[in-house]
């Protein structure tokens, strides 16, 4: 394997990651960045949902300079990418499925407006429960952290999900499941992420 090139080393995105990935949050507008916290347009198919939460460090303090990206399937459970060849599922031209949010510099709160994804077929031919892929970068994070958010109202599917079931510790599985709350017309999922310590979120080596 020695003829393989080595992957370029990761480095922290630093405290000013917003300049590059979310210039509006940094305090200026330079070009129209279409990758933001709102993934939907009026034409997008699927149930509108809001995801909100905080990212906390090992002391429980909100991380107020984190940048979060999400990647998800559409309402039919199809990723908008040529590698998704699941039969019988169509791409929604109004939904790319890629979002970015910066946490609030004062409170640490983040939020996404998106749709609830459908179930995607898993590697071994077993369906995965609906989920959203999360990736976190920030000052003090030397290599981006991957996790998944699952939906609290999908308990039967979650119980059979091949990735959740990889996690040996029942108690840790709960860190990936976001409870649902109805707030007026809006379905809100609360997904707090703990980088370290009590209730530490499960992160994946993908």
């Amino acid at each position: 394997m020695s003829n393989l090139l080595r992957e370029t080393a990761s480095q922290t995105a630093g405290p000013y990651v917003h300049i590059g990935l979310a210039p509006h949050a940094a305090g200026f507008d330079i070009f129209d960045n279409k990758v933001g916290p709102v993934l939907v347009t009026p034409e997008t198919k699927g149930e509108r949902i809001r995801i909100e939460g905080i990212v906390a460090d090992g002391s429980g303090t909100p991380v107020r300079d984190v940048l979060i990206e999400i990647w998800q399937a559409n309402a039919a459970g199809k990723y908008n990418h040529p590698g998704d060849r699941q039969p019988g599922k169509a791409i929604d031209p109004s939904f790319r499925g890629w979002g970015r949010a910066a946490s609030d510099f004062d409170t640490g709160a983040y939020a996404f407006e998106t749709i609830k994804p459908g179930s995607v077929m898993g590697r071994d031919g077993r369906p995965m429960a609906p989920h959203i892929n999360f990736w976190l970068v920030a000052r003090g994070i030397n290599i981006g952290l991957h996790t998944r958010m699952y939906f609290g109202d999908e308990a039967p599917a979650n119980a059979k999900d091949p990735v959740i079931n990889l996690i040996e510790w029942q108690v840790r599985r709960q860190t990936l499941i976001a409870p649902r709350e109805q707030r007026g017309d809006v379905a809100v999922y609360r997904f707090d992420i703990r980088l370290q310590g009590e209730g530490e979120t499960v992160f994946f080596d993908i």
Partner: protein, 247 residues
């Protein structure tokens, strides 16, 4: 390799020895922001092997020209440089249509960011961010001002070497990478706690761009070369259940 990878093929597993550990005490902020539990390793599914696709029509004509894309009343101050290179995977294949996003301080070491309070002056004509896609050969190029070093709160007199932040989105979610590019000859490289968190000297060298006189523009700009390697994408040769196939 037997055949070229197809979209949706899986990526080689990540080698942790190529990267800084999450917990690197010399970089103090990492102490409370690093998970203590082992990462859970999973076999890649469609969620990991797919990723966002970006169209060239989403980018503006000056997005890769940091000298001009925020110029308001004149040109930004500082050393004019071109940064170029290619993006390959671990098998040496070009990664086409990869999105490269860059951000940086200006020539004074000051970022255009509401949280940056450094005394170094803002430049009214410099924003400090750019983006581009790699071409058919995996090549990219952008033009900018060489960033200045600046002090930061770690040890009391730590200074960051001049650097440009780089985020790359390749063929799949598992290939996502953020790094920093440094400049050959910078004396601050030797002691930077963020760079020195990388446990391997050859991997550190890989982040140091070399001056490339062959790409200088006469009476205009110097040039630096920075090549990037992303995780290799491989064809799975034999597998009992084809990915995505219903049973």
């Amino acid at each position: 390799m037997t055949r070229a990878p197809q979209p949706g093929d899986e990526f080689l597993m990540r080698d942790p020895s190529s990267h800084p550990p999450a917990h690197a005490p010399g970089y103090k902020t990492s102490v409370l922001r690093s998970p203590r539990n082992a990462l859970i390793s999973l076999q890649q599914s469609l969620s990991e092997v797919t990723g966002p696709v970006i169209g060239i029509d989403e980018l503006g004509p000056l997005d890769h020209d940091l000298i001009m894309n925020y110029a308001r009343s004149g040109l930004p101050v500082g050393e004019r440089i071109i940064v170029h290179g290619h993006v390959r995977d671990q098998f040496g294949r070009p990664v086409k249509n990869a999105l490269i996003e860059v951000w940086q301080a200006n020539a004074s070491g000051r970022y255009r960011h509401k949280n940056d309070q450094y005394i170094g002056a803002l430049d009214p004509n410099f924003g400090g961010c750019g983006r581009m896609l790699t071409d058919e050969n995996g090549c990219y190029a952008y033009r900018t001002i060489k960033p200045g070093p600046y002090p930061w709160r770690n040890r009391i007199n730590d200074w960051r070497p001049s650097h440009i932040h780089v985020a790359i989105s390749g063929d799949g979610w598992a290939q996502r990478l953020v790094t920093q590019m440094y400049f050959e000859g910078d004396p601050l490289i030797a002691t930077c706690p963020i760079l020195r968190a990388i446990p391997d000297e050859s991997q550190i060298r890989g982040l140091i761009a070399l001056q490339d006189t062959s790409a200088f523009v006469q009476f205009d700009s110097r040039a630096y070369r920075f090549d990037i390697v992303l995780r290799g994408q491989r064809a799975t040769l034999f597998e009992n259940h084809v990915q995505g196939e219903a049973k």
